[in-house]
Symmetry: C2
Subunit: 665 residues, 2 copies
């Protein structure tokens, strides 16, 4: 095998099945895996084949130049020493700012490039190539992608990124196993190793946990101290404090997020590329102004009408889908949850209660999964300008389902019984269950499934060894990683990754502690504690328990921020209601139904006022499109030329020289 | 006189005093006005001197080239046929998109250029030039601006833009005197003639009036029809309808505003220039990456710390000023207004009431003027990144004063008496007074003052004619325009123009009709009517009664939008309170003080939640500065070169040719 130098860091692996017996004979033409390896080598990649117990693995690495040429083909916009972002070109590589570790591309960019290279392998010959696998033969037609073909043939089982052992161990030491300051995290290194999205999550988690210490200690004081004659003012004061705290926190989070993305921008240049590539360039620039203008005007009118039609259509579709989701949550899920809550109350014995809860837990598993599937199906027909918007739309829909599921029981108890003690018990129950047990499961299940897979692999190997006698395969590092679970979302895996579940957990916890804070001020302290363990547990999970996740470039927490904001508003309302319940123990306070109706109407109108702007965009689609198009056009005209003229003077002169000599001749 | 061709359109005029006798003798050196005229001619302007009755006027016009060179010096960014905005250069003028009327520059741009030229006249000689006026002689030192000097000497009384008679008459016909569809307005022409800001105002006024027709007719129906057994639900329904209407309206206004600015962008390219010019360019671009990077990193850290310090300082100053304004409104204005409202109630006879109101009106005149002055003084010490932000800050502060003044009396009556009939009377009174009378005054006072000035001028002329015998002066068009009042704001004239008063009127009317709509649904119809007259009255005022205003480039209604939004939230709360009053005629509904306290707290917290994000910016100053700097740097490197290479191939070749021949030699 060539290209297997020491010190090469393999970053991507392909899992292909092992052919125990058929490997040897090469008389009947090339085996399809061999074809693949040859093609990968031809494309400049460094390839190493690794025999595992159950599968064979093709590990890939690439030189800077190979990655650079792919980056140029993908038109990655990267910061240059000129102070502006330009599409990457390999010939002018020295114009582009290098990362702090001296490399030219971040992991996120390299991953994109690898994908571009390996999925870009097509049959360039004019004739069909026969791909032979163990069981069947298929034709690789000209122009067809080899990897997609092999994936369809089930030969390539998976393409997955590999951990970089050196960096992983460093991170394990400096991050997951660093117990000195538990909210401090090496964000830059996380970003370099995992990409922007995961770094943003951990930045948020760290800042949130740090800020949580304030209401946690305040909650402890409120719960444990006696303020004598001022006791009646303690809860309202606590209410005002934690709402002000949370408003401040999210404003400062937005600032921190802006600062972090500005600082880590350098790891994240690939994110710009998608936005630009989706716009088609203008075919040609007319040199005749008046004609160009007339043509442009007509085009513009037609385009505008087109955009407007499309915008309204998309909007209607979105409204329909959202209405569908909301209605089905209210008509299907709400009665179900209320029935459970009611039955739970009515049942006498603990055994029956336990049985009911078990049935309920099983059913909601099914329910949420179905909800997620419906949501994914619905957003498939909606149009989104970016993949991020699509993901956000899914998040909103799925959150609706979880919101009902998590809080409706608590609301039921709070409203029906107006009994703070049972509410408090319920909250402790829920928090303990959702936090401690879920956290354990979240880490235990992947680990156990990994151990089981490993065990099965070894056992199978043992069986096969008895049958045949070729004992050359070892249990390699790549195979171990292949057996580890991927960092996937529980719902909508095509669109979201594992962060979806982590954020969902965070958001549900936030809602639970905020919405009922006045009934149970200790909840903040509880959340602070679980979050401190969560930071390191999530780090450990990512570093030790999971396959390396595919890097994602999102710089913000996206839809989750809006959900947090929604929960803040909700918690202002619910805590007010709670306070009313708590101060009105004797039931002396009364509210005329008319007054209550007007108050409800007022709240609905305030909700409309502040919610409506999210439904209708402030900028018409055609204005936005025109803006983006202008920017793209500017780019295309400007950048190549600029780069050449600054870093490739010689070439320019050559061209002009030949031009001049032609003229002279 | 040279340059006085027929058909030249003079666009700017300078008013200088007339020197009856001294004009003739030129033996003692040049008179300062003659020096000025000479210098203006030297700078390429077309100059015409016009003798008026009281003053002499220097009318200025300029050829395209003169304006173009000034535009290039000012680095106006204009759209090109390349599809991107580039700084203007006269040599590549054909690359820039022309306006629909065929000219290269909009009035707003030309006005900036005129100012740049006439204020840019400095003494380029090495010696001092003696400027002789009637009364005194002063030295014009090298490097000093002539016009500023003459303004300081009180020789140049005013620089003011002139109406373009042809276009003015066209607009008068197509706009102010066009009675066919009263909400339709030729926005493009208004933008071309008056600039973006005034066009935005009229777009808003037109759309607002058109949309007002819906709640106006709904209000009529609610007021006049009897719904039998459903009567009790009419007002809540009306409440829900007009709040939904107003929320929809402002969302669609934002869309319309975006669309209008995209369409009229071409008239408004000068607005981009300010933002960019304020950033200093990086002195030089290092060609040595690593060194450059190290230097940049240190610089960046220092800059960041600097920005953060400055940001917090500015923020603290702003909070202090706002607190000062709010406190003084609450501590000074509120008691005063309440005293008036209370006294007005207590006084028995109508004569005393009338006297009190007269005194009150006099005092609030003084009060608001003082408030405006304090606000202007306060914001002088605040730092703003754009002039628009400064204007917005003034708007917020002054609006606070007017808000108290306009509504506190109405609130007092509504809350104290809980009597809907008197409230309704008060509203009718206020609306009639504020709308009809103010509208009349607004148009009558400028007209009367203009007539008076004209009359005085003619009388003075008569007197002088008797004394001397030189009767060559006529009452010219320029002098008539000079005597017309300028389109100025009543408060903070340095920062705002006359639109301030127009918007203030609109906002106060909006608050009046929205906040008490449930008590008086007819108010919408009333407002619709007054607005229809307002559209044409304002147009007439601008076209016939006022000097041409200096063009302004603001594309949005700025701070007023936020004030409108604030008033919407206020009106949700006040209307809820009104409904409670109206449905609770017998006083049966009661609210325990504890419940009331919790409700107040809830509203305060909702207010904090939604208001706080306006106080702390989402993006740290250093991030924003870095972003702008990057863009500027990109511009500077890119554009000149690009323009040359596309439209100045010949020159480029010449340069390269000489380079090549040098190399060969």
């Amino acid at each position: 095998m060539t290209g297997n130098k020491k010190g090469v860091c393999f970053e991507i692996a392909l899992a292909v099945p092992k052919w125990g017996e058929n490997r040897g004979d090469e008389r009947e033409g090339a085996h399809c895996v061999d074809v693949l390896v040859d093609e990968l080598r031809k494309n400049g990649l460094i390839v190493e084949r690794d025999d595992g117990l159950q599968n064979e693995f093709i590990k890939l690495a690439a030189s800077d130049e190979v990655i650079g040429r792919a980056a140029a083909a993908l038109q990655f916009r990267k910061p240059t020493y000129l102070g502006m972002d330009l599409p990457f070109e390999w010939e002018e590589a020295e114009a582009f700012i290098r990362l702090p570790d001296g490399s030219l591309f971040s992991w996120c960019e390299r991953f994109h490039c690898y994908n571009h290279i390996i999925y870009g392998i097509v049959n360039t010959a004019e004739s069909v190539v026969v791909l032979r696998s163990d069981s069947k033969e298929e034709n690789w037609k000209p122009g067809e992608s080899l990897l997609l073909k092999l994936e369809a043939m089930d030969v390539v089982k998976e393409v997955f990124p590999l951990h970089d052992e050196k960096k992983r161990k460093q991170l394990l030491k400096s991050w997951a196993m660093n117990w000195s300051d538990v909210t401090h995290q090496p964000i830059d290194d996380i970003c370099a190793y995992y990409g922007m999205k995961i770094a943003t999550y951990f930045t948020f988690l760290g800042m949130y946990t740090r800020w949580l210490l304030f209401p946690a200690s305040l909650g402890l004081v409120v719960q444990l101290m006696d303020f004598g004659s001022l006791q009646f003012a303690v809860l309202p004061f606590f209410f005002m404090s934690f709402i002000s705290w949370v408003v401040l926190f999210f404003q400062f989070w937005k600032r921190k997020n802006a600062a972090i993305s500005a600082r880590l921008q350098i790891y994240n240049s690939a994110s710009l590329e998608c936005e630009y590539r989706s716009m088609k360039p203008e075919p040609s620039l007319s040199r005749f102004p008046s004609e160009h203008m007339r043509k442009q005007n007509i085009d513009r009118m037609r385009e505008k009408a087109n955009f407007q039609r499309q915008e309204w259509f998309t909007w209607l579709l979105r409204v329909r889908n959202d209405a569908f989701i909301i209605l089905s949550i209210i008509c299907l899920q709400l009665p179900f949850e209320l029935t459970y809550a009611h039955l739970y109350e009515d049942l006498g014995t603990d055994v029956l209660k336990f049985g009911l809860t078990a049935v309920y837990l099983l059913v909601i598993q099914y329910f949420t999964r179905m909800g997620g599937k419906v949501a994914v199906k619905l957003i498939k027909y909606e149009k989104f300008d970016t993949a991020e918007n699509k993901a956000n739309s899914l998040v909103y829909k799925v959150f609706g389902v979880y919101f009902m599921q998590s809080y409706i029981g608590v609301f039921y108890h709070a409203l029906l019984h107006r009994n703070i003690t049972t509410l408090r018990q319920l909250l402790i129950q829920r928090l303990v269950i959702s936090e401690v047990i879920e956290n354990l499961l979240e880490n235990a299940i992947p680990y156990l499934s990994y151990r089981f897979k490993k065990y099965r692999a070894v056992r199978n190997k043992g069986k096969r060894d008895k049958e045949s006698s070729t004992g050359k395969s070892r249990f390699t590092r790549v195979e171990k990683e292949y057996l580890k679970p991927a960092y996937n979302a529980s719902i909508g895996q095509e669109i979201e990754d594992g962060l979806f579940d982590d954020f969902l957990e965070l958001v549900l916890q936030f809602g639970m502690i905020m919405m009922f804070a006045c009934a149970f001020p200790l909840a903040f302290a509880f959340a602070a504690m679980t979050n401190i363990t969560e930071i390191r547990a999530d780090a450990l999970k990512l570093l030790a328990m999971m396959r390396r996740p595919t890097p994602r470039a999102e710089e913000t927490i996206g839809a989750w921020l809006n959900i947090f904001q929604f929960l803040i508003v909700m918690s202002i309302c619910t805590n007010s209601a709670l306070l009313v319940c708590m101060y009105d123990r004797e039931g002396n306070w009364n509210l005329s139904p008319g007054l209550a109706a007007i108050l409800v109407m007022e709240h609905v109108l305030l909700f409309i006022k502040f919610g409506f702007s999210r439904i209708v965009p402030e900028e018409p689609a055609w204005v936005k499109a025109a803006r983006v198009k202008n920017a793209t056009q500017a780019e295309q005209v400007c950048t190549r030329q600029l780069l050449r003229s600054l870093y490739g003077d010689e070439k320019c002169f050559d061209e002009v020289r030949s031009h001049v000599s032609k003229k002279d001749a």
